[in-house]
Amino acid sequence: MRGEQIYCEVRVKIITTRFGEIEVDEKKIITFPLGIPGFAELKRYVLIDYKDPIQWLHAVDDPEVAFIVVNPFIMFPSYSVDIRDDEELFLGIKKPTDVVVLTILNVTKNRITANLRGPLVLNSANYLAAQILIDDERYDFSAPLPALPSKS
């Protein structure tokens, strides 16, 4: 394959209420085959960098739907996610190093919480993703963020 690659980047336009009109490489579109619970009909998302380590997971097909996401292991060092065999198969996960875990943040007036119970699991090898439910009651749907991420 190498050496014979044809470089053809398809840019996809996405209309967003928060960022205006943006363009992304089609290959960077993440597919949630089952949608995200509450938004079953929205299957395509893109990650938009915000302030490291914060990103937005923005729906491609709805200008208003976007989630604030973060790598949970930065803020919760003891956090771990067990991905079940059927979930691995569903996402086509072949190598653990391909897995990217993101947690949705919920920002209210005076606090910010992380949904540690329902992380987003992304296979970076094929851009398939799903929100899974962890069968562990130690992890909260709304875990208060221990400290703000470093701004620098």
Binding site: R18, G38, A66, F67, I68, N115, L133
Partner: protein, 73 residues
């Protein structure tokens, strides 16, 4: 709603691909084993409802609120 009576170890099939087995019963608790196609997500309903509700809230976050939180203008 269809109501079926089953004993421990017995199975209910739904279509060709879904099997629900009563693994254990006792103290008001039923343990079920479920076989279903991978593309069918299986959740405990109350947790799934909670996840949906939380996701709907989380999808509404606006930029200003996030900026305020991080001490920006």
């Amino acid at each position: 709603m269809l109501v079926l009576t089953r004993k421990t170890g017995q199975i209910i099939t739904i279509g060709d691909e879904i099997r629900i087995k009563v693994v254990d019963v006792g103290n008001g608790i039923v343990k079920l084993g479920i076989e279903a196609p991978r593309e069918l997500p299986i959740f405990r309903e109350e947790l799934y409802e909670k996840l949906k509700q939380l996701n709907r809230e989380s999808a509404k976050m606006d930029m200003d609120r996030l900026k305020t939180f991080f001490g920006e203008q």
